[in-house]
């Protein structure tokens, strides 16, 4: 097991170098914007732009720029400085990470609560009206774009301008770090959690329902019933225990993806997270920040993938590394 994990971690470093190479090529070799020109003010002279280029180190050969970047990142954990704010990329990410983590954890809890219970009930009441209704509704939930859902939620429930304004909620841009005021933190995040969780809850409900329906046809479920176990423990202890493994796989990946930034949700609710940071950086041509957030996103996905694989060995005793 330990050897397996070490091997995977080495693979992870390789993968991250690859990811940064791809990002580097996308943003530096085929640049959609010239960061120097963006920074040079209105009607700049070519000399000014050239000076800024030199200042940012953009005049060096691309391969040297990339080599330097990789070396700084992996040897010194130095992700460079933002072109715009002139602060360390790493400290910028550190500053925004708690908001993203808050959004992710809360969202995960909300969607697991709803998704899993709906999934179990749908599978147990297979083909009932309840089952058909929830599966139909879940299709709507999956199809609704997050930004639209977010705007609708704000339009309906925002404390300031919502049609049914709920006073206890925080509105757009009301995010407060947990360490400052836990209550306000929760109030500001309730709407984003629910909006973020809607599509995920629907996906998880369908996933668990399908998986549980398969499992409930297994021979060992019949054995459990033949032993005289209560239906409740047949479903939960024997059925869900098996059906949950595919859910865990997907959950790991989803958490990884969200930690890399829930761009849409964070933008709609104006939450200062990684997604927001990346979005702003892209619009401003702030390449170091873009690269940093992409690299962190990839890192979270790879790490969560590893955690899922290790977790699998505990979930399924037949799995050995």
């Amino acid at each position: 097991m330990a050897r397996y994990i070490v091997r995977r971690l080495l693979g992870m470093v390789l993968l991250l170098i690859l990811v940064s190479a791809v990002t580097f090529v996308i943003f530096n070799v085929f640049p959609s914007t010239d960061p120097a020109a963006l920074r040079a003010g209105r009607q700049p002279t070519p000399e000014v732009i050239e000076a800024i280029r030199r200042d940012l180190g953009l005049d060096r050969p691309k391969i040297v720029q990339f080599g330097d970047y990789i070396w700084d990142v992996f040897a010194h954990q130095d992700f460079g400085k933002s072109y715009v704010a002139n602060v360390e990329v790493l400290s910028q990410i550190r500053e925004n990470l708690p908001a993203t983590i808050s959004l992710t954890i809360g969202g995960v809890l909300v969607w697991l609560t709803f998704g899993l219970s709906v999934g179990i009930i749908s599978a147990v009441k297979h083909r009932s009206i309840l089952d058909r209704a929830t599966i139909g509704l879940s299709l709507i939930a999956i199809s609704a774009p997050v930004y639209w859902l977010g705007l609708v939620a704000l339009y309906l429930f925002a404390p300031d301008f919502g049609v049914f304004g709920l006073g206890f909620l925080g509105g757009q841009g009301s995010y407060v770090p947990f360490s400052e005021d836990p209550l306000k933190w929760a109030q500001s995040l309730i709407l984003p959690w629910c909006v973020l969780a809607t599509a995920f809850a629907a996906v998880y409900a369908r996933l668990l329902r399908g998986s549980l329906l398969d499992v409930m046809g297994e021979d060992y479920i019949r054995t459990a019933r033949a032993k005289g176990l209560a239906e409740r423990s047949v479903i939960l202890k024997h059925g869900v225990r098996s059906a949950i493994t595919p859910v865990v796989t997907v959950l790991g990946l989803d958490i990884g993806i969200l930690l890399g930034g829930a761009i849409l949700t964070e933008s709609v609710f104006n939450i200062p997270g990684i997604g927001r940071l990346a979005y702003d950086a892209i619009t401003r041509g702030d390449l170091p920040i873009v690269q940093g957030t992409v690299l962190f996103g990839a890192f979270f996905i790879i790490i969560m993938n590893l955690i899922v694989d290790v977790l699998y060995a505990f979930l399924d005793p037949r799995v050995r590394y």
Partner: protein, 352 residues
């Protein structure tokens, strides 16, 4: 009074293709401590019959009628909670495929302990002791450490032993074994059958052995019921059934298993055709499309299960006359092909 008495049991499933009459008027009984073999091909309704006894076929799309009397109660009328107290405590069941019948994510011991604690309010430790005891009883080596093994660490035979241990852990009055050896190697099959036979004589548990293989039940059951298309077509004490089988389907089953005492050059004779659809049952005798001795009348008249003349405990559902059946079997038992036997014996018009 029999331990279990099934009276005119009918089980139907509604499917998209139509109503499946899986069990179509089956009656049988098992006395305490005795054993009954139920023999038939896949789809003859033998498994559904016994799953229904335990209420394991209850579903939105299934319908039942008849009676299943056990311990003075009709199991078909019990609520799910009442039935649960019967399952695993008074009637236990083991299944065909031991590889998939144990939960892959729980240790063998945990699954045995769970079976005890589903019915008895005992400590985990006491239940574990009982589990070790049972694993020892079914000849699992080093039961004290094997109790903590995962199912995938057991061979197929050991898993079936573990299933038997789990089934018998609460000392049920009746054990239903649904093709317990079909998925196992031949050598392991013999061990498992021997084990079931030994445990039956030691514990006095009654056994219903479901199988498609007459060879399996020949040695170890007191009585055999042959099922075809959801009905019992012949029922007799085991010795009697082998000595003077009455139904052409039983003859087919007997002639499709190899025997040590038959001539070396005798060929095994398969039963032609396939079991009928249970949605559209053939008219008349359900076996008529496959019967080598069919007469015109058999395609219209549905035979009932009736006692064979002179035998109180031997019933058959066949339209051939008893004399004709006796003559035919004489030829078949001598190793003749069905066509030759048919030519040698005048079959008459069919109906008696």
């Amino acid at each position: 009074m029999p331990l279990l008495e099934v009276r005119d049991l009918r089980v139907q499933f509604e499917t998209d293709d139509g109503i499946v009459r899986a069990v179509d008027g089956v009656s049988y009984s098992v006395e305490e401590g005795r054993s009954l073999g139920i023999v038939g091909e896949s789809g003859s309704g033998k498994s559904v019959t016994n799953l229904t006894v335990l209420g394991l076929t209850r579903a939105r799309n299934s319908k039942f009628s008849g009676e299943v009397i056990f311990g003075g109660r009709d199991l078909l009328k019990l609520s799910e909670d009442e039935l649960r107290e019967v399952r695993g405590e008074e009637i236990a069941m083991i299944f065909q495929d031991p590889l998939s019948s144990l939960h892959p994510f729980y240790r063998v011991g945990e699954q045995l302990i769970e079976a005890v604690r589903a019915h008895h309010d005992v400590s985990k430790k006491a239940a574990r002791g009982r589990a070790v005891e049972m694993l020892q009883l079914v000849n699992i080596p080093e039961p004290r450490s094997r109790v903590d093994a995962w199912p995938h660490e057991f061979s197929g035979g050991m898993r079936q032993r573990a299933m038997i241990a789990m089934a018998l852990i609460n000392s049920p009055k009746l054990l239903i074994a649904d093709e317990p050896t079909t998925a196992l190697d031949v050598t392991v099959q013999a061990q498992i059958l021997e084990l079931i036979e030994r445990l039956q004589s030691e514990t006095g548990t009654a056994v219903i052995m479901i199988t498609h293989d007459l060879g399996v039940v020949a040695e170890m059951t007191h009585e055999i019921a042959v099922m075809y298309a959801g009905r019992i077509v012949e029922r007799a004490p085991t010795k009697e059934l082998f000595a003077s089988p009455q139904h052409p389907y039983t003859w087919g089953l007997l002639r499709s298993i190899p025997r040590l005492d038959s001539p070396r050059n005798e060929e095994l004779v398969p039963i032609d055709g396939r079991p009928p659809s249970l949605i559209t049952r053939p008219p008349g005798c359900a076996f008529h499309p496959r019967c080598p001795f069919v007469r015109e009348a058999h395609k219209r008249i549905d035979p009932e299960l009736e006692p064979v003349d002179g035998r109180r405990d031997h019933d058959v559902a066949c339209l051939l006359s008893q004399q004709t059946r006796a003559d035919l079997w004489q030829h078949l038992a001598a190793g003749e092909a069905p066509a030759r036997a048919r030519a040698a014996v005048p079959l008459g018009e069919g109906a008696e």
